[in-house]
């Protein structure tokens, strides 16, 4: 069974090459529908929109690659197979996006390089699982080669805007995060593994925006530095990370694996970061209220998952009831914070959908239906990215409405003759 799993996994990784290039010739998939469609600016396909999508896909790649490597280390072939399928989907989506952003020729060069570094990561994790130091070194050498190739590819595409040395250091760090988290996971050091996991996600997410800025002409990339785009990117990263980490924590809770405590620590760090962001946007009182409500949601999801492992349906019903209340309370809170720019009904529907997918995700893990679990996780990530965009725009507009008006009158003219001649 294990051998078959590896074979299918390897094939899944390798076939991503063909499917990805084929996707370039297809019409772009429509953006995931969400209940905010009437209030959100629909993705227009502008380069800046695609760049934000690109960073989300790169961040997702980091998570899926880490999951694939961890499952290989655990010797959990079914899981590894499902993780590989998601990774292949991510590569396909990313290649299609590269095609839209930078052209088909660029995408056709990108995809094999990208797929090959995934195959090398797959081999690295297998060597770790088998305690085969020689194979691990061989995979490490392979990865070093792809680091150079990918860096050269990105640097060449940037037309001088991204120096090769910088490109290489960025790619090297990405690979180091992935191999580092796998090394630590294999050693049972879940805290260190999760630190690398989180840093890897954040680095890769940011790397996506950095690459887009470097590869796009300045006329297209300039807007990405403007506050509205920065907020979309940053809130997108925090909420996408929430989707990733709550999925990981519920997986660990359902399967009662030893990495739960470290996973929960990461999840809490993300929740704190989200509260800090709310403090920036709406002040400390709102941030405390947000964290209280958000914490209810996180705690209930973990409780639901743990109750699944304990075969305790009463506790699961209780968790669902707490989530119902959360949907109502958080929708009212966010609608108030945004002065109605996001309506309570639309917010509640989006939150219900988010938690519905996460509950399904936990159930799929409990049933060891890993393909289903990964497919749901992929949709949850997309949904979260879409919701994050809507929230970022509603938050941004709400804050903008109360910013100081006009310029600052910070002079009285005592030095007018001097100041005026500078």
């Amino acid at each position: 069974m294990r051998t078959i799993g590896y074979r299918i996994g390897a094939v899944a990784v390798l076939t991503a090459t063909a499917t990805g290039v084929a996707a370039l010739r297809q019409e772009p998939a429509p953006a995931p529908a969400h209940p905010f469609a009437h209030t959100a600016a629909a993705p227009a396909g502008a380069p800046a929109d695609l760049a934000v999508r690109f960073e989300a896909l790169l961040g997702q790649h980091s998570v899926l690659a880490a999951n694939m490597m961890r499952s290989r280390v655990r010797g959990d072939d079914d899981f590894a197979q499902a993780a590989n399928a998601s990774l292949g989907q991510n590569t396909t989506d990313m290649t299609a996006l590269v095609g839209r952003l930078f052209g088909t020729a660029t995408a056709e060069k990108f995809e094999p390089l990208w797929s090959q570094h995934i195959v090398a990561l797959f081999a690295y994790a297998g060597a770790l699982a088998n305690h085969d130091d020689a194979a691990r070194e061989e995979a490490r050498d392979e990865l070093a080669g792809y680091e150079i190739d990918l860096a050269e590819f990105f640097a060449a595409g940037s037309q001088g805007r991204l120096p090769p040395a910088t490109a290489r250091s960025l790619v090297v760090l990405h690979v180091q995060h992935l191999t580092g988290q796998a090394d630590a996971y294999a050693a049972g050091d879940y805290t260190r593994s999760d630190e690398q996991f989180r840093q890897g996600f954040q680095h890769t997410y940011d790397l996506g925006l950095g690459l887009a800025k470097a590869l796009l002409p300045p006329s297209d990339s300039g807007v990405l530095s403007e506050p509205v785009w920065r907020l979309r990117s940053q809130l997108g990263k925090l909420l996408a990370e929430h989707a990733v980490l709550i999925g990981d924590a519920t997986r660990a809770a359902v399967t009662r694996t030893a990495d739960f405590t470290a996973s929960a620590r990461m999840l809490n760090a993300n929740t704190s970061d989200l509260a800090a962001a709310m403090d920036t946007l709406f002040g400390s009182a709102a941030a405390r209220r947000f964290q209280q409500l958000w914490g209810t949601h996180v705690t209930a999801l973990v409780s639901y998952s743990a109750a699944g492992a304990a075969r305790d349906p009463a506790r699961q019903r209780e968790a669902r009831a707490r989530l119902d209340k959360f949907h109502q309370d958080m929708a009212v809170f966010l609608a108030g914070a945004t002065n109605g720019r996001a309506t309570p009904a639309a917010l509640r529907a989006a939150l219900v959908e988010h938690d519905h997918m996460l509950l399904q995700h936990a159930d799929a893990y409990a049933a060891r239906d890993y393909p289903e679990a990964h497919e749901i996780a992929y949709r949850t990530y997309d949904h979260m990215s879409s919701l994050a965009r809507t929230l970022a725009d509603a938050f941004g507009a709400s804050v903008a409405a109360r910013l100081p008006k006009g310029a600052a009158q910070t002079g009285h003219g005592g030095l007018a003759d001097v100041v005026g001649h500078r």
């Binding site: 390897a10 390089l113 005592g414």
Partner: protein, 203 residues
């Protein structure tokens, strides 16, 4: 090594993996392999999990120091006037922090205003126009901590085209903006025609 050579090598390696008995050697240590989830015999850590209820708060700013400009002053708080414009310090020698925005070092743009002059002499930001990229600006906070920033850019803009979005606009980058007046003085309105804005990022 060329790509095609590495692909070939990798294919061989994968073939060996597939052919050989795989998985963890018998008796080898490693993370637990999950099996079908058994009913819990004892409480697991997840059973008692409670989400975090706090976040790192950033203390209020109390002092601004820009050694290159010989600025070392306490800070006052600034809010909004009834007409929605920003308050300015009453004392030209003391800068003020806009308390409707982020605190320095918190995610987001913190904004500090200072006068270029008073009616009789220089103000605390009289030399802001000549600050260079890379210059250090430090903000001491009420809890004894210090947020450090490096100037990245200085620009002079007409007040009629004040870039509200770039100065105050919500983002989560922990940045600092220093604002004063510049350009020619309009005696009829009693104010300078331009603002000088220094943009700084976390050091």
């Amino acid at each position: 090594m060329p790509v095609y050579a590495r692909i070939t090598g990798l294919a061989v390696a994968l073939a060996l993996v597939l052919a050989a008995p795989s998985g963890r050697p018998e008796g080898a240590a490693g993370p637990p392999t999950p099996s079908v989830v058994p009913p819990a015999a004892s409480p697991a850590p997840a059973d008692s999990f409670v989400s975090s209820s706090s976040y790192p708060s950033v203390a209020l700013p109390v002092r601004l120091r820009i050694p290159a400009l010989r600025v070392d002053s306490r800070l006052i708080d600034l809010g909004l006037r009834p007409d929605g414009s920003i308050e300015v310090p009453g004392d030209a020698s003391v800068p003020g922090w806009y308390d409707g925005g982020p605190r320095p070092g918190q995610p987001g743009p913190a904004v500090i205003l200072g006068h270029v002059d008073s009616k009789r002499g220089p103000g605390v930001f009289v030399d802001l126009y000549r600050v260079r990229p890379g210059t250090l600006a430090e903000v001491d906070r009420a809890d004894g901590s210090t947020a450090r920033f490096r100037i990245t850019e200085v620009s002079r803009v007409a007040k009629t085209r004040f870039p509200t979005d770039l100065v105050y606009g919500p983002s989560l980058d922990p940045t600092l903006r220093l604002v004063t007046c510049g350009g020619s003085f309009d005696h009829s309105s009693g104010s300078y025609r331009d603002n000088v804005i220094a943009f700084a990022e976390a050091a």
